[in-house]
């Protein structure tokens, strides 16, 4: 059963990209660790952590694409799941600091100490264990996604209404996490991490490991997602996207279909967040900004909505561009970015990958027709001869 699921998942492009990701996962750390800084092939740590960040973004975009590209649910709140995953990981990293904080309090994180909290809030328990934090990084976003989706899809909220309430959701969370009384460090968020699983979080080794982890996680999710969308269930999803009522009248429970996709997607976003935080070294409520969620939508659209590789390409391109522009023309990079979005929507409505695929298919169609004609011509020959 599972095997067939996986086998179906592995079409040519996916195989290529997955392979590529795995190669990067091995190669980049190797080049970073084993070559001398002056070696031509050396990849500086700066690039490693930068690209590592991109990869987590790519995973987030992929998660969004599952619901938006294949099920037509435009979520403007996906950064919320990302951030929740991040917070779960952040809490673990905070607990790891232990007595090494400024006040040397073995139990309480610094921000609690100097706002003189007396004991650890209940929801911080268990986060000193990695497995628990990792579990929460997936479960909490998943649960939120499930509950939210269960309400929304059951009462058939869709279109912009759904988009806007997802935005309301992330905005509410933003405000909530800003409140210092929440016990998540308010605006300063969680930071000053020391180590993860006992490894110094700043050592090149750890960075490379995190990079590899991100690449592999992305590859894995790519395979899973591709499996999902290529299964019969995936076809139903696309059916829901294109003709929701038809799927209903064929007897499918559209709300369940949506709910499953939404929850899975939320969990993937959570994983992305959990990998993101140790690499950037901070998580704060800013991650809940509705603007962030919109950016994710934009990466996906730029890369190509409804394709699996598109969101990955889009996320990496847009963020790469951002990194370069903010340094190259700090005063004017917003013009470049804004321009990019306008241009893409106007001239590449299907996104980069989508357009590429379209071109390829056109050519294939054309070739088919040509062959058919040729065949007919040959068939015609002998009669002509007589």
């Amino acid at each position: 059963m599972i095997t067939s699921f996986v086998l179906k998942a592995l079409d040519r492009n996916i195989v290529w990209v997955t392979a590529l990701l795995l190669v990067i996962a091995a190669l980049v750390p190797a080049l970073n660790l084993m070559t001398a800084p002056d070696h031509p092939l050396h990849i500086p740590t700066y690039i490693v952590s930068l690209v590592g960040k991109y990869l987590t973004y790519a995973l987030l975009a992929l998660a969004l694409d599952l619901v938006w590209g294949f099920c037509g649910i435009l979520s403007l709140g996906h950064a919320a799941f990302f951030a929740l995953g991040g917070y779960a990981m952040g809490m673990y990293l905070m607990r790891q600091i232990g007595a090494r904080g400024s006040y040397g309090n073995p139990l309480l994180p610094d921000f609690m100490v100097f706002l003189n909290w007396k004991e650890l809030p209940w929801f911080w328990y268990g986060f000193d264990m990695f497995w628990f934090a990792a579990l929460m990084a997936v479960l909490v976003p998943g649960l939120l996604g499930f509950v939210f989706g269960w309400f929304a899809f059951r009462s058939r909220v869709n279109g912009v209404y759904l988009s806007i309430i997802t935005q309301a959701m992330t905005f509410a969370l933003l405000l909530a996490f800003f409140r210092n009384d929440m016990g998540f460090g308010g605006n300063n968020g969680l930071t000053d991490f020391k180590d993860i699983l006992g490894f110094n979080i700043q050592s090149n080794g750890t960075r490379s490991a995190l990079f590899a982890a991100s690449a592999i996680a992305l590859a894995l999710s790519l395979v899973i997602t591709s499996g999902i969308v290529r299964s019969k269930y995936g076809k139903v999803l696309i059916g829901v996207r294109d003709a929701e009522s038809r799927t209903r009248f064929l007897g499918y429970r559209v709300e369940h279909m949506k709910l499953f996709a939404f929850t899975v997607s939320a969990m993937m976003a959570g994983v992305a967040g959990a990998l993101y935080v140790p690499q950037v070294g901070i998580i704060n409520p800013g991650e809940f900004e509705p603007a962030n969620s919109i950016e994710v939508v934009i990466w996906t659209a730029v890369g190509g909505r409804g394709t699996l590789i598109g969101p990955i390409v889009g996320a990496i391109l847009v963020n790469g561009g951002k990194s370069i522009f903010t340094a190259a023309f700090p005063e004017f990079w917003l013009f470049a970015l804004g321009g990019l979005f306008v241009v893409v929507t106007l001239f590449l409505p299907r996104g980069i990958v989508g357009t590429a695929r379209q071109v390829i298919e056109r050519r294939r169609e054309y070739r088919k027709v040509r062959q058919a004609e040729a065949a007919r011509a040959i068939a015609a020959e002998p009669q002509a001869a007589e």
């Binding site: 269930y233 003709a243 009522s245 209903r248 009248f249 007897g251 499953f260």
Partner: protein
């Protein structure tokens, strides 16, 4: 009439009694009542806004009636169920405008329509069995789309889409089929073909056809119900109905 209907209730496949519904004050259905017997092929005619589509919406659970009873096989209360449940009970519906999954191939369209387990996980790990293949092939030939099976539904002609949709209904193996204007925009050839197809289908299950095309109705040659302003105007053979002055004044007249 209600009393008359109610003793038909247990034996009927579909039973509507005094069904009314209104949108923002406009009465779409006004205590509509009629009965479909098992294995019956019934044509329903009526001017625009007579409530034909609304009636289908109510039978298929898309719209809830304000009042009245809707029963399937005399026992199942349809007003308490939603689209999916009703579809799974075995009521298939074909829309006025052909709605198929345009970004799927003809084959996939039928595969999705097949009457199999429809849960999330059973679809997630579904594998195409030999019998399912067979069944799909069979339907393909019934709706004459075998040679297009690998094309995207989007690339089909209008008529072919209509047929594909009918094919999907067959795959669904319903006991009751609701067909909304199947020949709209079809060539005469296609129309007669469709008539044959529907009669073929009606041999094994009950069918309700909503249609404007009187010629087509004649081809079918079955009992006709004429709706107007959300309630039944007349019922009987095509000639009987089309002779009815009310009908003429209300419908054929123009």
């Amino acid at each position: 009439m209600n009393t008359l209907a109610s003793n038909a209730k247990p034996t009927s496949i579909l039973y509507l009694d005094g069904v009314s519904v209104s949108f923002d004050g406009f009465k779409a259905l006004n205590s509509l009542s009629f009965v479909i017997e098992p294995g019956e092929l019934r044509a329903i005619i009526g001017p625009n806004g007579a409530g034909k589509t609304t009636m289908m919406d109510i039978i298929t659970g898309k719209t809830r009636p304000d009042s009245g009873e809707v029963f399937f096989k005399g026992t199942v209360d349809l007003t308490q169920k939603d689209e999916a449940e009703i579809a799974q009970l075995g009521i298939g519906r074909k829309f006025q405008k052909p709605t198929v999954f345009e970004s799927h191939t003809v084959w996939d369209n039928l595969e999705l329509a097949l009457n199999r387990k429809r849960g999330v996980f059973s679809t997630l790990f579904y594998r195409l069995t030999a019998e399912d293949k067979e069944r799909i092939e069979e339907i393909l030939s019934t709706v004459r789309l075998t040679n297009r099976k690998d094309d995207y539904a989007a690339n089909l002609s209008h008529g072919q889409k209509q047929w594909l949709e009918i094919g999907m209904l067959l795959a669904q193996e319903p006991e009751l089929l609701l067909v909304d204007e199947p020949v709209a925009g079809m060539t005469d050839a296609e129309t007669t073909e469709t008539a044959l197809l529907l009669k073929e289908i009606a041999k094994t299950r009950s069918v309700v056809v909503v249609e404007h095309d009187m010629g087509f109705i004649r081809d079918l040659g079955v009992k006709v119900t004429c709706l107007a302003e959300g309630s039944v105007l007349a019922e009987g053979s095509i000639d009987f109905v089309s002779a009815d002055p009310k009908v003429i004044e209300n419908y054929l007249g123009r």
